[in-house]
Subunit: 678 residues, 2 copies
Amino acid sequence: MKGIAVIAVCAAIVGLIVAVVLATWIKKQDQGTDRMKEISGFIREGAFAFLKREYKIMVIVIAVLFLLIGFCINWVTGILYICGAVLSVLAGFFGMNVATWGNVRTANAAKDGGMNKALKVAFRSGAVMGLAVAGLGLFGLGMVMVCLKLATVVQCVTGFGFGASSMALFGRVGGGIYTKAADVGADLVGKVEAGIPEDDPRNPAVIADNVGDNVGDVAGMGSDLYESYCGSIISAITLAAVAAGASGGLFDEATAAIFPLIMAAVGIIASVIGILLVRGKEGSNPANALNAGTYIASGIVVIVSIILSKAMLGSFAFSVAIIAGLIVGVAIGKITEIYTSEDYKSVKKIAEQSQTGSATTIISGLGVGMMSTVWPIICISVGIFAAYFATETVGAGMGMYGIALAAVGMLSTTGMTVAVDAYGPVSDNAGGIAEMSELPEGVRNITDKLDAVGNTTAAIGKGFAIGSAALTALALFASYSAVTGLTAISLLNPIVIIGLFIGAMLPFMFSAFTMNSVGRAANQMIEEVRRQFREDDGILAGTSKPDYAHCVDISTQAALKEMIVPGLMAIIAPLAVGIILGPEALGGMLAGALAAGVLLALMMANAGGAWDNAKKYVEGGAYGGKGSDTHKATVVGDTVGDPFKDTSGPSINILIKLMTIVSVVFAPLFVAIGGLIG
Amino acid sequence: MKGIAVIAVCAAIVGLIVAVVLATWIKKQDQGTDRMKEISGFIREGAFAFLKREYKIMVIVIAVLFLLIGFCINWVTGILYICGAVLSVLAGFFGMNVATWGNVRTANAAKDGGMNKALKVAFRSGAVMGLAVAGLGLFGLGMVMVCLKLATVVQCVTGFGFGASSMALFGRVGGGIYTKAADVGADLVGKVEAGIPEDDPRNPAVIADNVGDNVGDVAGMGSDLYESYCGSIISAITLAAVAAGASGGLFDEATAAIFPLIMAAVGIIASVIGILLVRGKEGSNPANALNAGTYIASGIVVIVSIILSKAMLGSFAFSVAIIAGLIVGVAIGKITEIYTSEDYKSVKKIAEQSQTGSATTIISGLGVGMMSTVWPIICISVGIFAAYFATETVGAGMGMYGIALAAVGMLSTTGMTVAVDAYGPVSDNAGGIAEMSELPEGVRNITDKLDAVGNTTAAIGKGFAIGSAALTALALFASYSAVTGLTAISLLNPIVIIGLFIGAMLPFMFSAFTMNSVGRAANQMIEEVRRQFREDDGILAGTSKPDYAHCVDISTQAALKEMIVPGLMAIIAPLAVGIILGPEALGGMLAGALAAGVLLALMMANAGGAWDNAKKYVEGGAYGGKGSDTHKATVVGDTVGDPFKDTSGPSINILIKLMTIVSVVFAPLFVAIGGLIG
């Protein structure tokens, strides 16, 4: 087993080397004018100011949770918790660092080299994040396999997942609050009150807004998928023993435990190939190039999974599970696009309905969001069905392992997926820099085109992230049952129903917290921007510089303060239910949170995306275009959609995964206590 | 048993006689001026035009479902289906008829007799609906008990519940679409575009709007609670055999089956006493009188339940379940009030946030709606816990019967609850008639005060309706397990998880349908009102009469047409899942729909109520008062909230109950087929 684990580690290292090579290539590109360097310097400074402050808190959280795990469970799990957390932080640091290199160089490439050069720089910046996420995740898990005995790995590797999850809380929730506080604050005072364009350097919150793209949309999204990536593999490892037992001697536990790592290794190599093959054609839609890369990477995984499934596990059934996961991921992305892109009727309908005012904008947007949940849920259901029953035919009891493999399959091309996703905010930032540096309109046209594609890929990425969270949480839920030894969590047991109700309630409560957080933080930002405009007339006149740093500081402080309550809630809720009501009630709670959470997340993310693009559609000239009453109505929709799609919706991914992994890690405790009153 | 069942029938008849006496008293009151009579005539005409059209469709639906049940299950169930449906229709007809007598007489009582006289007329009009709902429900179920053998009752009585459910679909969903299409249409063109006040007789949609109060808020709400009322009793009857088996000879099945009917009988008598004791004091808040009535009725049920629990079933434990249900009902009402009344901070916060525009109105309102789910869910959980474990101590396996009794307890005072709830729309209508008849301002002041209290009681009633739907659906879910003979519906079975996902998705899909329906129907209404204003200048000048009938017709047609798709969905979804994926998947689906549905319904109803009152709060003078930008922002919130709180939110109650009762009725079919692919 250890020999094969070394292969996985090597593949991870290959991914990381490619990331370093790409990063070096990016750094070598020209940064452009002094003004561009200055602005990009501000953004970097702001981003690292946030990270520095965040790290101080992370250290405390990591220390506390390490001790908690060590005392309550065991110290190896605690140490693996630290590994999972630190690698997540490293991935975020590395990826975001390169993204802040990439933004200005993308703008300059658009200036000097045209569309294709700009696409290349932007995409490669995203690719570094993608390969860092997958590479460091697989490196860590591979090393765990290499260094520890299998029994220890199975017992303790969930700590690694908990580390990934708890850092994703900072990334996605904290980052999400940061980016929307800055965005809403900048928009409401700058665009609406002062009437200056987006990304205007006179707006004091403009740097914070651009920092937010890096903090929330690059690092936050990366930490979310890092968590899913590790979680899916970990779940498969913990279910390997059950699978081996059910296989009737077809394969042993070690092989079943190493198989997901090998598939992940295949995925990294496939992603590297896909990434290197992405190149735009002058005049063609950049989305085509990105899609081609995704399809190539997926195709490689499909083919190799068929071979390895038979070779390693003695049956083609396991590749069915992996392919099912891959297809579900791609399908959810496509469905998301249909509901959130202005090329399809949902977005057009919102724009049309906006003619009767912002109330109908909101009603129709919520309607679209709710309706958009139907097909993703059907896809996930079919995927679960296929993965479970295909593998269950190999041996009764194998199905849960199959579901974990579906999650692994879906996430195997994470390197590629994150690359496409992170390309968006880099392009967005590049556009901001172009605007602030007053580059010629042609440059801005190129970055706008890149950004428009980036908006679509971001929406698709959000759908993918929700789908992967659902499948990962479900796989970890299966691990939970294996660890607790529960043979049934029956809905006919009222304590399970109580858990189900509480679980379904938590995503609503969590979303209320995060939405209110954005509201509060945005209000602080609004006050600050108004204050600066009021106290120094020179800012709007363009004669004196606004105090960017103060706005960055407000976002930073607000984000870190506001994530405390929802963060604590996500960790305490499963502990409280597990200890007080017992492991069965906790099982019900996890299922309730999973089902309601996925629905709410899909609704919020897609409604937000649809509102955003309805606004863009009207800005493109429909129904009176920019400045019309219809446009004003769509701006209201977009403003409501901002926390929906970039804070509350994606944060639910973290909630459902984090609560499940906390439950898995502390399961021995709950079983020992058995429920104080349950 | 039959002797005791006769007592229940007698209590039901007492309730019905009191209803008739009250109705006669109301009819004797003076209708006021000719103008008042004319307007009230329009409203009555419109309401009956809707009913007439609705009945035509109902006859077809009843016939089709009767045949379906007869062929697939058995004919006795089919006949009981007709009984349940017809009694629901009768209750709606009787209650709404009297409500349309009461509105004009309340207005006249406000004119001639002052506040207390007006309160008395309005409340007694509501009380007729309340006693009709409880009286006819109990009469029907009592007669079933008297006429059939117990074994036949247990096997077939679910048909009665299905009848109640399928008619509630017309009442709540159809009525909800009707009332909001008219309301939104009347408001957007009349108030916003033409600038005429609410309830102005020049508005062509004003009669349709007032009809909507009767159709949606009186008849629709009544049919919803009739469904819960019957469902809770039916569930307890079907679980009586299990309870008797678990009691170790403490009581027999017949006693366990008759006990819920006797408690319902006690509830009716208690409601009659409570209703007759409601009388306002000149100068005091009418809410106090209403609350006193509710507390008296509840107190009587509490005391008698303790006695009967011991006397009939040999243990006090069963009264714990009943009292738990009662307390949960009252508690949810109180919590609803806290989140939706302008006396508390949530509504004030929405008003405050509205100063920065309608986007923040929406965000904070959704935040309040989400947060408002927490305590009701905790109450329901505690109620389930108490009811289950108290009765489980009597004998293992008794707990599910205990949960059904909690639902019976919660709904035992339905007569009183519906009376308080239906009083609101009657007062609202009275205000409309006062405005349209140009009665002196003093009259309008009285009706406004009654209406303000009515708004609060309506919000409380909505919370209660959701809570009762949750508990009833859960009780019926227990019946489902008993009928299918499933001993576990385990979340570790992926087919159950698939069911759970699909179930959680259905309330979202259903809400999308109902919200879009309101949007479409309101648009038709807007077009029509605009057309009338455009084609006849005399309407706005006050020289020619608008064509009220055409607007009534539009609402009627739209409501009946738009409810087809969501209605079919609610019936087909459980049939499809049960037949294709099997009874276990269907169990998962019911649980998923229950959990997600209750959450979504609470969120929508409370957000809607909070927006409504935030607007009223600003209209009362806060943050610039009427006409300010803040006011405009709150109007957007209120418009979004309208379909939330009066259509989509309450319709989910019907969805979750209807899908559960369909599952119970057709359970034998699903068990026989066993799932085509599950």
